[in-house]
Subunit: 366 residues, 2 copies
């Protein structure tokens, strides 16, 4: 999508400098736009851990590139095939530990390893790992584009009912193109509708503690000229109570077999508000976000607990300000679970599905 | 209650310097403890508007002192009784406009004016206005103490069921003694239980955008040695999902005749989370917070919209950091409405009542 009217993806391979991947540094957005070079699997780990790259689909692709780097490093460090594979396996686990909640890194790394596992020649293997990571990126972009086309049909219907008045969407966190490779998940239907000239307005919940809504979603929407308003997470319920929201769209970090959705902390409260006000709540995610191996999100998904400094402080360096009472303990849970019963539908690249085990399992056979 | 082991109230009259009221500057807490002198009705207005004093019961008492100052000023400025009363009426409306959502300022000012309306001698009238404001403060403290004793019974029952394991309370915003004169509303049962040695833990939702939870509630609890943990507002739902909360206690800015509760933005989402997890949700407030003239909170209460700078920036002066994407519109709704159906009970100084018109109306006849 566009930044300063120029087309970008969030992450890309540059074949001129070997081995290297470039990405947009999302910790600097929206105040500074900068891309940075990644040269190793450890740097991929840091970029994911420190959230220079973030968003479930994007960290999936980044992790796939991490496997590519691990293959390059294995060849340089070790002669024996067994040692090389031990190294790659070690890096796989290490990369997995960077952000434990999303299913995408595991999915993308498994896919990459699967593509190379039977290749004996290590140069060929490295080439194939890179090609696979690039293919996952391309597929993600295409999936997001289709999610947009699919979700568009829902927004069109609302627009018809509202007779030209703006369709009012509420979103939590950033499930825009910055969280993916291009288009976004929850944002993709919005961009698709806007490109048809459908009038829109997006309420953006700021999304404490890291403010991905106020910083990234608002930035994206601004760059794409989509009318929007930032509110506190607390105010999301109020704008729904006042009848100012037609539909809620969010992303997902992991979807269970029965349709529970693990997503950024606060999504559950937002879903409860939508449910209480009879506002449709849709989750937008590629099929790769579905983890069919688990059923009960609340019991089976490991919820990442991040550094409490994200809550205690705002600003950095000399500008760092304390927001909490000194001496008071602080805990920073990063995700929650929205139970299937609160979700009207999951919008995927294979169509819209009800959050229900049988219906979800059909997606895997399309 | 205690600050640095010394007993304070949040606001008090000092008869040594005439006319004057002192208060704790809550904008400086928890980082700096400072009291300040208020000398006029305009200074009362500023202190309420800028939230140097805040919390529904406290701004009620502050507004009553505002009427006292207005009486003093009227006598100094005008000779004719009619002009004096015009001035007082003007100041009444002005003080009312400082924070439109809470019912307490209106209630306390009406009570003060009612006490003095038939007094002809202006010195006597000024004396009576001051005595009335002081009496409202004393009554508020006593009401809060009784709210604590009343709510204590609920906490005792939970403690018995949990067989000595800590009772886990969640609260939103600051409904502690800093919001009142002493004891607090939602915090009062907690202090009462702690004083009996009942083991407790309080989850404190930070309460964006002004962080009264992370700043004031955490500070209060810390000063009183009550175990507590600050979390984001977004995480309140998650700790409930995980079974880590036994009861939710909040305050109220205004309660309607049928039991809808207007309180700090985000209370509605917190109440929805409690309801969804079958966790009892109690509102603690003096009977003076009930506005029997209104029924439907959502349609009939004017919700204050505050400056969006509270959301856009953190920190002050050189430390001011931007939290939102430049150019993106931001709106700051300060309160929401928790419908009666989500509330298990309202804990007042006259007992616990169901949020129901008939039961609430009985409180006025006790």
């Amino acid at each position: 999508m566009l930044i300063n009217k120029k087309y970008y993806r969030t992450i890309w391979n540059d074949s001129k400098k070997y081995p290297s991947v470039y990405a947009i540094d999302q910790n600097l957005l929206p105040f500074k736009f900068k891309t940075f070079r990644i040269k190793s699997s450890d740097e991929i780990f840091s970029a994911i851990k420190n959230m220079n790259v973030r968003g479930a689909p994007l960290i999936g692709v980044a992790a796939a590139y991490g496997i590519y780097f691990a293959c390059v490093e294995a060849k340089l460090k070790y002669k024996r095939v067994k040692e090389r594979w031990n190294y790659i396996q070690k890096k796989y686990k290490y990369l997995l530990s960077a952000r434990p909640t999303s299913v995408n890194p595991k999915w993308a790394m498994d896919k990459t390893l699967d593509a190379v596992k039977n290749i004996c020649d290590f140069d060929e293997l490295i080439f194939k790992a890179l090609e696979t990571a690039k293919m996952i990126a391309d597929e993600d972009a295409e999936n997001c584009r289709i999610i947009g086309e699919t979700g568009l049909e829902i927004l069109k219907k609302i627009s018809l009912k509202k007779k030209g008045k703006p369709v009012s969407i509420l979103t939590h966190c950033n499930a825009g193109w910055l969280a993916c490779i291009d288009y976004g998940t929850a944002a993709s239907p919005v961009y698709a509708a806007a490109s048809l000239g459908i009038p829109l307005h997006v309420w953006v919940e700021e999304t404490r503690p890291r403010n991905q809504g106020a910083k990234l979603t608002a930035f994206e929407l601004g760059q794409m000229n989509i009318p929007h308003t930032i509110i506190t997470d607390n105010a999301g319920g109020y704008v729904m109570q006042k009848g100012l929201v037609d539909i809620v769209l969010t992303g997902a970090d992991r979807i269970t077999a029965r349709g529970d959705v693990c997503n950024k902390i606060g999504t559950y409260k937002t879903a409860l508000s939508a449910y209480d006000n009879k506002i449709p709540f849709y989750v937008c995610a590629p099929v790769s976000s579905i983890d069919f191996s688990i059923r009960n999100g609340l019991n089976e998904i490991e919820i990442e607990e991040r550094s409490n400094e994200e809550i205690i402080y705002a600003g950095e360096g000399k500008k760092r300000t304390r927001l909490t009472s000194p001496g008071s303990p602080v805990r920073n849970f990063a995700f929650d679970i929205t139970p299937a019963r609160l979700i009207n539908g999951i919008i995927t690249e294979k169509g819209i599905t009800k959050p229900d085990k049988n219906k979800i399992s059909k997606l895997f056979h399309i």
